[in-house]
Amino acid sequence: MRSLFLPLASIPAFYTQLAKYGETYHPRVLDSHAIYELWREEEIAAEELHQALKMVRPVEPLKEFFLRSRERVASFPQLFSKDIKPKVIVGAKDCDIRSLIEIQDNVYLKGVLEDPFYKERREKYLVVTVDCPEPADTCFCLRIGGKPYSVWGGDLNLSFGEEGIIVDVLSAKGEEAVEKMGDFLKEVDKKEIKKRDKHRTDAERRLAKVNPDEFAPDLPDRIEHQLDTTFWAKALANCVDCQACERICPTCYCFLLYDIPVGKGVERVKVLDWCYHAAYGRVGGGVNPLAHFSHRLRNRFECKFMAFPRNFKVSACTGCGRCIAGCTGKIDIREVLRAL
């Protein structure tokens, strides 16, 4: 791994350099949240871009770039092909890159078949992860196998030094993108790295303060044995069934296939699906094993904290806190896990 230096004032120019690799998305502040925006080489103050990079995970989960919420996957009798062009995504956090590597890749790249569209996007898209110097109260990556900074998994990582940004080159794709920039990035000074390390320890300390307790190590068994529907109904008491928590989750991976007639043919469409949908488990003739919402709630926890760790040795939750921040009913997943 090699580290390079980006002066703060050069952030806009850096995005323009990245755009040589592909369409570039970067975080932008909107109503005190970060959201992804396409880099259009407009005049945006470097300081504003810097602030956006420092924020916690963007509102949109990283999977949105890789698993479209609705996409055509087959057609008959006329066939189709997809032209997937390279993209650059700047601003993914550790909790996001892990959602790809540890969760979505396990589902979509392994097993009986791989998803060819997902695979191609994974190959072509360049992910630039960014440290989190200022974790939010909803963040709990530290308690679920992550860190408020990413040293692996992305192609490049941006971290915050004394006077500028440190660019770590983490993959061959990252190297390729940096090479396209010529000598745009400079040598990095030791004192920058020292400052970066301090930011990292401070962030970890802050996260530990917000989340003082570890989760029980036997969560899978606790979920398996928590069969009391009143427990789940209570956990859900304030839920208004808006399904925001699942839609916004970077690790939820379910989908549904359906067909639509187009002209004389048919197209098969894949849409992301959510197990909170009342019809999620419905089988032929209307029988529904997940008819009651408390069963569907339990199903979500079973999926993330029992089945996934048993199958892949990792929870299908990266602690990004989006479901907490986005919940209409102010339900905190950490409290449900602690109550188990």
Binding site: G111, D115, E224, F255, D273, R282, E302
Partner: protein, 246 residues
């Protein structure tokens, strides 16, 4: 009867995804013998959108099929043992391909016991085939209906009544069951009481399925996925779950 082009071979226990044009697809288990490669039979009960559309299909129409998916029955584990097949209602359809596959090599098993329960004599599937099957050496057939009629001479009662007085010792055999969830639940309970080992009870677990190959999440049952770890799953792998049959 489907004639997949190119021919699509499968093993008993596997399923296919069959498309009703313009409506969508649904999982079905072939009910014909896996040894017949040029065509495939599927027995379908009309319950909803896809299955209703499939009832409108005429001979010669083109359908789309993908698969086969899922894990086959481990028939080599059955050799030299008694094989008890318990079917309820249309649950016999998928068991038929297993039964036909076993018949192909009938002397390899101590005996094949085909036990079948339906609601009324009119609901019996493959009624006329039972007569032929009954004549085969090494095959024992028992049938029951919940409610009989004046011509019904066989057992009356839910399918578990057929499990009384088994003609073999459970530890010399294994059981395979398919049917509606309540039937599966009570059959499993009875088989356990009789002394069948957990890993010798093979259950067809039919959950909602979309993809058929372990990605879409819909068919998850505990830590297993019915489509890729099943649909036939032995009791030892799911007995820790609250109620796998809901």
């Amino acid at each position: 009867m489907l004639e997949p082009k190119p021919a699509l071979s499968f093993h008993a226990g596997q399923f296919i995804e069959l498309t009703a044009p313009g409506v969508g697809e649904a999982p079905f288990t072939p009910s014909s013998s896996p040894y017949v490669e040029e065509s495939m039979e599927v027995t379908i009960m009309k319950v909803g959108r896809v299955t209703s559309k499939l009832f409108d299909v005429r001979p010669g129409d083109t359908l789309a099929v993908r698969g086969p998916y899922g894990v086959p029955y481990e028939t080599d584990r059955y050799e030299g043992r008694h094989v008890l097949i318990v079917g309820g209602g249309v649950g016999l359809a998928p068991l038929r391909s297993l039964f036909l596959a076993l018949l192909h090599n009938v002397s390899a098993y101590k005996k094949i016991h085909l036990y079948y329960g339906a609601r009324t004599p009119k609901d019996i599937v493959y009624d006329r085939l039972f007569k032929e099957w009954g004549k085969i050496k090494n095959v024992e057939i028992r049938r029951s209906v919940d409610v009989g009629d004046k011509n019904w001479k066989e057992k009356v009662g839910v399918v578990t009544v057929l499990l009384d007085n088994l003609p073999f010792k459970p530890k010399d055999g294994l059981a395979v069951a398919c049917g509606p969830p309540v039937m599966m639940k009570f059959v499993t309970k009875r088989l356990l009481e009789l002394g069948f080992a957990d890993e010798d009870i093979y259950l067809s677990m039919e959950k909602n399925m979309s993809c058929g190959f372990g990605k879409c999440g819909h068919c998850r049952l505990g830590e297993l996925f019915c489509c890729k770890d099943g649909p036939v799953i032995t009791w030892d792998r799911i007995k820790h779950l609250e109620d796998p049959f809901v």
